[in-house]
């Protein structure tokens, strides 16, 4: 009786895993019916390729390179987005000037600025950073402006009756008041940034003929266009998915740390 909650939790995990395991089993069964030497990916071959790519270190270094670009581009977008968002939220004049510009760029997908980025910045890291920063800027600024506009006006008035300066009100009342929304914006931005970097590296890889742009997206491009290794492409896809999941979990942890008042 006492270990019942544990049993229950185990049961939940079993239920979650049943379908994926079955799908992989079916996939493996289907792959085993193919003639030997077929290029079609199969679970066991994928695992073997994963081992190979890990042992050469190429998979890890490509992932780290992509992640580094995401973190740097995301950081640039966050600093700019939060600062501009706070200014827009605090000043109507700033908001009225910036809003039309932001709204007219927002529907332009990150991939749509790639041609200009490549022409101006080449096929290396600067272009990747530009794409990531562009993609993650919008969720950050839009959620920051929204968060600032939702800060309870009473709190600002209360602060003014305590002899608190306007600048301190911005940093000590408006910023923390908008923080839940800002953190949500950065979490969305990080997701978008990771999606954008893979697409950008794939596209840049195509442009540079598989050259030295690096990153996991470029690695996928090489397996697609030169080596034609479907198993390796599946490995890359799986890594992209796992990294995205880990990033999201990390942000949820940060959210709990930064916003302890939202139980």
């Amino acid at each position: 009786m006492t270990n019942r909650p544990l049993d229950h939790r185990a049961l939940v995990w079993v239920r979650k895993l049943v379908l994926p395991v079955m799908l992989i089993a079916v996939w493996q069964f289907w792959a085993s019916t193919l003639p030997t030497g077929s290029p079609a990916p199969a679970p066991l071959k994928v695992l073997q390729t994963l081992g190979d790519l890990l042992s050469t270190g190429s998979l890890l270094s490509a992932t780290v390179q992509s992640l580094g670009r995401v973190v740097l581009g995301f950081a640039m977008a966050s600093v700019l987005g939060i600062a501009l968002g706070l200014m827009m939220g605090a000043s109507q004049a700033v908001r009225e000037n910036l809003d039309p510009i932001i709204e007219s760029f927002r529907p332009i997908a990150p991939m749509a600025i790639l041609p200009i980025a490549i022409l101006w910045l080449g096929t290396g890291t600067p272009t990747a950073l530009a794409i990531v920063a562009y993609a993650s800027f919008f969720p950050v600024i839009i959620n920051t402006v929204h968060g600032v506009s939702r800060v309870d006006r009473k709190l600002v008035l209360a602060a003014r009756t305590m002899g608190i300066s306007r600048w301190t009100i911005l940093t000590r009342v408006v910023l923390p008041g908008a923080l839940p929304s800002i953190v949500l914006g950065t979490r969305l931005a990080m997701g978008v940034a990771w999606t954008a970097i893979i697409a950008a590296e794939l596209a840049v890889g195509a442009k540079s003929g598989g050259g030295g742009s690096g990153g996991i997206g470029q690695m996928m491009f090489v397996f697609y266009a030169y080596n034609i290794d479907l198993n390796a492409i599946v490995v890359c896809m799986a890594v992209v998915g796992v990294v995205a999941l880990l990033i999201d979990q990390l942000f949820r942890l940060v959210e709990k740390r930064l916003i302890p008042w939202k139980a």
Partner: protein, 288 residues
């Protein structure tokens, strides 16, 4: 300047406030030609039906809104902007949700003018003193969402007092509480205001309420306001002896004063809820 009349702590002379409706551009008069002198240490309650401009008057004294006409003077100086000398306790407390009890009580001391001349140790001592005064010791590290309504109200009161204002502006601070908590906090408010202390040691307090009994229990004078536009109908002096906490309600004058104030606002109160005019003047039988 005559020597025998003390200069008032707060003087409202011919104060009017009109608001412009943003769409129509029409102006509505919220407060009309209000004049009132308030002495140091006085406890003033403002009562009146909804929409009589009570909160507008308080916000003008706080400096959060500017009078359209007339002047508000504090110690002879015109009030033009908010300042920590006039502390406000808002209806819904306006506590910072991301600050603990300690952080909220010390908010003005840490970031505003009230704590400028204090070092960190002095600030912390002051914060602890006021947390004790309102009976919140042990809850210092809780966030507002973990507190009951009565406890949040205490936090707001401690924050107000910690900032050391000369004038306490209280906008229906007990409005959202249940009846028992309200009775307890009325008594505590009187104690903290300094009911048992000499008049010179009391704070000047302006307290807005819907509750006539509460006004009579707390106030030295009750300002009765009427609507459309909000203006002073009568200023009723409450001649009940102090200290009142716990015993004023049984005083024979208590009911008389409550009844008198109610008679001043009854008609408008009925109209405000869309009731029949005849209900406002019930027969003897109906009241019995």
């Amino acid at each position: 300047m005559s020597d025998n009349v003390p200069s008032p702590k707060l003087r409202l002379s011919g104060v009017s406030k009109s608001f412009l409706a943003p769409r129509t551009g029409l102006s509505t008069l919220a407060v009309a030609e209000m004049s009132l002198d308030i002495q140091t240490g006085e406890f003033i309650c403002i009562v009146g039906p909804s929409g009589c401009g009570k909160s507008t008057v308080l916000n003008m004294i706080a400096g959060l809104e500017v009078a359209t006409e007339g002047v508000i003077q504090k110690d002879g100086q015109a009030v033009t902007e908010p300042g920590a000398d006039r502390g406000v306790m808002f209806q819904d407390y306006a506590l910072m949700p991301w600050q603990t009890v300690e952080g909220n009580v010390g908010f003005g001391l840490r970031y505003g003018t009230p704590g400028q001349h204090l070092n960190k140790a002095q600030r912390n001592q002051r914060i602890a003193h006021f947390i004790d005064l309102v009976g919140l010791r042990g809850s210092e590290h809780k966030y507002p969402h973990q507190l009951s309504g009565g406890m949040r109200q205490r936090v707001a009161l401690a924050r107000l007092l910690a900032n050391g204002p000369d004038i306490l502006l209280l906008d229906e601070p007990l409005g959202a509480l249940d009846a028992q908590t309200r009775l307890i906090l009325q008594a505590e408010l009187l104690r903290i205001w300094g009911e048992t202390a000499p008049v010179t040691e009391r704070k000047t307090a302006i307290f807005i309420t819907h509750d006539i009994e509460e006004a009579v229990l707390l106030a030295d004078r009750v300002v009765v306001m009427s609507t459309n536009p909000g203006r002073v109908r009568e200023v009723v002096t409450i001649d009940l002896p102090r200290p009142r906490a716990g015993k004023a309600r049984t005083h024979p004058r208590f009911g008389v004063l409550v009844e008198h104030i109610w008679s001043l606002i009854r008609d408008e109160a009925y109209r405000a809820i869309g009731g029949d005019e005849s209900l406002a003047n019930p027969t003897e039988e109906a009241t019995a």
